[in-house]
Symmetry: C2
Subunit: 209 residues, 2 copies
Amino acid sequence: MPSHILSSNIPDIVIGRLPVYLRALTRLAQEGREVTSSHELGQRLGISSAQIRKDLSHFGGFGKQGTGYQIAYLVEQLKQVLKVDQEWDVALVGAGDLGRALAHYRGFGDRGFRIVSMFDNSPDKIGTELENFVIQPLDDLAKVIRERNIKIAMIAVPAESAQEVADRLIEVGVKAILNYAPINLNVPADVHVQYIDPVVHLQRMTYYL
Amino acid sequence: MPSHILSSNIPDIVIGRLPVYLRALTRLAQEGREVTSSHELGQRLGISSAQIRKDLSHFGGFGKQGTGYQIAYLVEQLKQVLKVDQEWDVALVGAGDLGRALAHYRGFGDRGFRIVSMFDNSPDKIGTELENFVIQPLDDLAKVIRERNIKIAMIAVPAESAQEVADRLIEVGVKAILNYAPINLNVPADVHVQYIDPVVHLQRMTYYL
């Protein structure tokens, strides 16, 4: 990774937009495009081109005035910055409807993530095969995550058990949690949590209706 | 709705936090609690108590110095502000794994939303019963949404068809879209879109690992 990236201290709000830029650029590349502009990206993303230029300038001027951005190069740079130029092993806890939907989701693989183990505590689910792995009992969670040195987990269990699951994950070294349970988690400062709760997104919009 | 709420112009960033406050307060109420403080909320949410006081002050001083916030009252106020003191009909497009998981999701009902119709274009899904509704063909989408005057939709279709589905929804009056497809949508200024893409959330965390 270029040193100017390592050394730069990028605001979290900017980091939050980089995956969206990466997604849009990857799509442009799939469409066979080789060059784009902050203007076109802005149009696609509903973000001002000035904002996009500013965000991308944090990595030391990609894109030359007038000539625009080389998509393939920018994609590579963003993947490096976000550390998804590698594939991360992910543990998935919860094999309900949502857990199974995530297990079947095709969108992880080519974007830096691979679900490698799935856990649940219900006897009728444990042992069943899903995609390319077998649902394991929660009691094996610590052992498996330690052995595979898994740093990222997704929680798709009911709100009541989410904090306990998070505690167990963190105890064995998980540093990033994507939490689908509709509850805020208490975690140490060095653990990152992101939340997905459709109702929070819906309620955020109804205010404007 | 109290006039001071109607008249106040609340920053979007604050609006984005209100559903999280509402969720935490509802949970406190379920735990049998009647009063809370900005300090306790801050602890639960990882937000500074000063920020919380500032956010909630936009609605004209709930919570008195020292005595804290009356949870039930604050919940009612937030529900009014976010307009979820009513139940909104929601259309769900896409009956794949994710769509089915959303259809089965129990978390909508008591938080202001009710999925009332579900659409898909695959013959093997159309007509099948799911929860309390039957999966309808995409061709019926316009008719149904007009008839039921549905304003909110969730898109759970592949990226390739998401924009076309969005266009069809907007054409018949949908004003708020929760998009699960990993693509940004182009919509008119009066249509609100929120995005849920697990990879965007995961990539946002890997930067810090």
